[in-house]
């Protein structure tokens, strides 16, 4: 299977999910390309496109919460950051993701 084709397929499916949630792909195309490539690798290894920036716990319940796009599972935190953890998705009003900060849940009142 061709990784480039699979990346395009993931882009297609992810866009349909994250759009109604108020998110879109990061405008940083280089980062997007890299993260999608990692997802394709993870999908090839595990059968599921897990979030590239999170470790697998080998606990089915916890692992399903980091299947990309994992926005519904961590929405409060992402809404505070205006991006997801790995930065593949940003709020639809974000034009420059480099201005966004990564904050732990405790600092945004989710601790």
């Amino acid at each position: 299977m061709n990784p480039e084709s699979r990346k395009e397929a993931l882009r297609f499916f992810h866009a349909k999910v994250v759009g109604p949630l108020g998110y879109r792909f990061t405008p940083d195309t280089e980062l997007m390309d890299f993260l999608l490539e990692q997802e394709v690798i993870l999908e090839g290894r595990h059968g599921i496109p897990f979030c590239p920036c999170q470790p697998l716990r080998h606990d089915p319940v916890k692992d399903m919460q980091i299947v990309c796009p994992c926005i519904p599972f961590h929405r409060k935190h992402y809404d505070a950051l205006k991006r997801c953890w790995c930065g593949l998705f940003v709020h639809q009003d974000v034009t420059d993701p480099s201005t966004l900060s990564q904050l732990p849940p405790e600092e945004v009142g989710l601790g």
């Binding site: 299977m1 061709n2 397929a9 297609f12 499916f13 595990h46 059968g47 599921i48 399903m64």
Partner: protein, 140 residues
Amino acid sequence: MAEHFVKATEVGAIAAGGMKAFTLEGREIVVGNCGGHFYAVERRCGHMNGPLELGTLDGTILTCPTHCAQFDITTGEALCGPMPRYLGEVPLPASVVNYPPDLGLLMAHVRTQSRRTYATKVESGWILVAVPREAVAPAD
């Protein structure tokens, strides 16, 4: 190999996003409607021969109903293999879980192959599919 166009069905018989299976001159073929464009691909999944017309067509991505392998209906290219082992929270019945370990080893070697596509065209309200002519063995 020479091809010739064979009538599959009328244009209105396949709604947008829909698929329908036909046997055209001995070949099992699925015709899908992607926003008014019709594409034809081999009917059997490249993973384990599931009937693809019973799956879903989302954009140009065709998902097999059996194990969710995906294909690009425009090119026949395999986009991903089957969905992985069960990860749900509800325990599976013992009769399913305790399947022979050898079966798992065998399944691990099953690869998802790309599917052959066939050219299509619309003429006079009919969808036509280009079916290759079989090479005819010379008579003795």
